[in-house]
């Protein structure tokens, strides 16, 4: 049996510098901060930019505001129909009516996409308020999450059907719409560090490229000036010696024009940089 190959690989392995393929640790000083988890029912995740406004507790309940009997009724009787003296569900209904009126197509419209979205938005904001007061209410939390997802689905549909109406409703209801990411993955330390390292490397590369560009640009003007001088000299020599002239006046003019343009461009960029500072 020939053992030379085995010996050779053994020798190679012994002399090779230690490169660990597994458990590789980068010595770059990149600090990774795990983003804090934001619950899906929070306004910053659901996309609600504003809260439900406070209501005047003296306001009458929905359906009683036009009552003629209440206008002439006793103050004590009237107070029985005020929002402040009734269950909170009446205030929510009042809010809902107010917001739907802002967006509905006609006074009888409660079924269009805009009206539906407005009703859901009030529901979501009311439940978010409730969850702040009662963080352990799991049943309502689930209902709220489902409603947020449903509203997001409806916004997705509206965007596809009628883009300008979608934008209008985002503004009216004060919502932010972000499409879902392409694929779900858990946030891990390893993957995040890989991404951060990629960004770091890209930045380094760009810095070096910028630096190189700067050095080349600095050489441009002196080079052109030198070229013009040399061309003029060569032309003069050729004329003096009476040999065929290879450098024309036009070439020199062209280079002079190029130089002037370059100088003007540099001045412009400098002025722009000074202004932005």
């Amino acid at each position: 049996m020939n053992i030379t190959p085995i010996l050779r690989t053994g020798l190679y392995l012994a002399n090779r510098p230690v490169v660990r393929q597994y458990a590789f640790k980068s010595d770059l000083k990149i600090k990774w901060v795990r983003p804090e988890k934001i619950p899906s029912i929070h306004p910053e995740k659901s996309g609600d930019c504003s809260k439900l406004s406070a209501v005047n507790p003296k306001e009458l309940m929905l359906g009683f505001e036009k009552s003629k009997e209440l206008e002439t009724a006793d103050a004590a009787v009237k107070s029985l129909f005020e929002l402040g003296n009734n269950p909170y569900v009446n205030t929510t209904r009042y809010h809902s009516e107010q917001l739907i009126k802002e967006v509905q197509r006609h006074p009888l419209d409660y079924g269009s996409m805009e009206a539906k979205l407005a009703r859901m938005t009030v529901f979501i904001r009311r439940y978010q308020q409730h969850m702040e007061e009662h963080p352990r209410d799991k049943k309502r939390k689930v209902i709220l999450k489902e409603m947020i997802e449903k509203r997001k689905k409806f916004l997705k549909y509206l965007r596809r059907w009628d883009y300008r109406r979608f934008e209008w409703i985002l503004e009216k209801l004060d919502l932010v719409y972000k499409p879902p990411p392409a694929e779900f993955h858990w946030i891990t330390r390893k993957e995040s560090l890989q991404k951060l390292t990629d960004i770091h490397c890209e930045k380094l590369r760009q810095e070096k490229l910028d630096e190189y560009r700067k050095t080349l640009e600095e050489q441009q003007i002196p080079f052109l000036e030198d070229a013009i001088k040399k061309m003029q000299f060569i032309r003069q020599e050729q004329i003096d010696l009476g040999i065929p002239v290879t450098v024309t006046e036009e070439d020199i003019e062209q280079n002079k024009k190029k130089l002037a343009e370059l100088k003007a461009f540099r001045e412009e960029t400098k002025a722009a940089a000074r202004k932005s500072n």
Partner: protein, 155 residues
């Protein structure tokens, strides 16, 4: 590859490149094993310096005689269907889902159109909320690092 002068229809996808659009060409591919067709996506980059197509638009792209860069092989010919602004090709009227827009407007008028309601004639063109309320022009990602700066596309 080059000078075939091939026209393709695809959908515009969010893209970070400055003067190009990413177009998805979706074809059906036969799986001989199952004898069934499955969707197969091909992504092409089309030269589009004016950014005429926005995310979601259905566009026609034409192959360039020679590739512009390593990625850009096509140019945008025409936007056929802008997203959310569909015109019925037979009647030439604007459509929302299953109804013509003028039918919807007519119904609203009969019921007494609300003053605050959305009006097509007053609505500005698409794209004014990009980056403030509407983040569909870029790709979103799951937030993986908290650097204290604002990350608008992080979910």
């Amino acid at each position: 590859m080059s000078a075939r002068n091939l026209l393709l229809m695809g959908q515009c996808m969010p893209c970070v490149k400055a003067n190009a659009s990413k177009i998805r060409i979706r074809r059906m591919e036969l799986d001989k094993n199952l004898n069934m067709y499955f969707k197969k996506d091909e992504f092409l980059f089309a030269h589009d310096p004016q950014k005429v197509c926005k995310t979601g638009d259905v566009v026609l792209i034409r192959e360039l005689p020679e590739r512009l860069t390593r990625l850009i092989t096509h140019k945008v010919e025409k936007v056929v269907y802008p997203l959310g602004d569909i015109t019925d090709p037979i009647t030439g009227k604007s459509v929302v889902v299953g109804k013509y827009r003028d039918q919807i407007e007519e119904a609203n008028r009969m019921f007494g159109k609300s003053e605050k309601a959305f009006d097509y004639s007053k609505a500005p063109p698409r794209g004014r909320l990009e980056g403030t309320k509407d983040f569909t022009h870029g790709e979103t990602y799951i937030k993986y690092h908290d650097d204290g700066k604002d990350q608008p596309f992080a979910v």
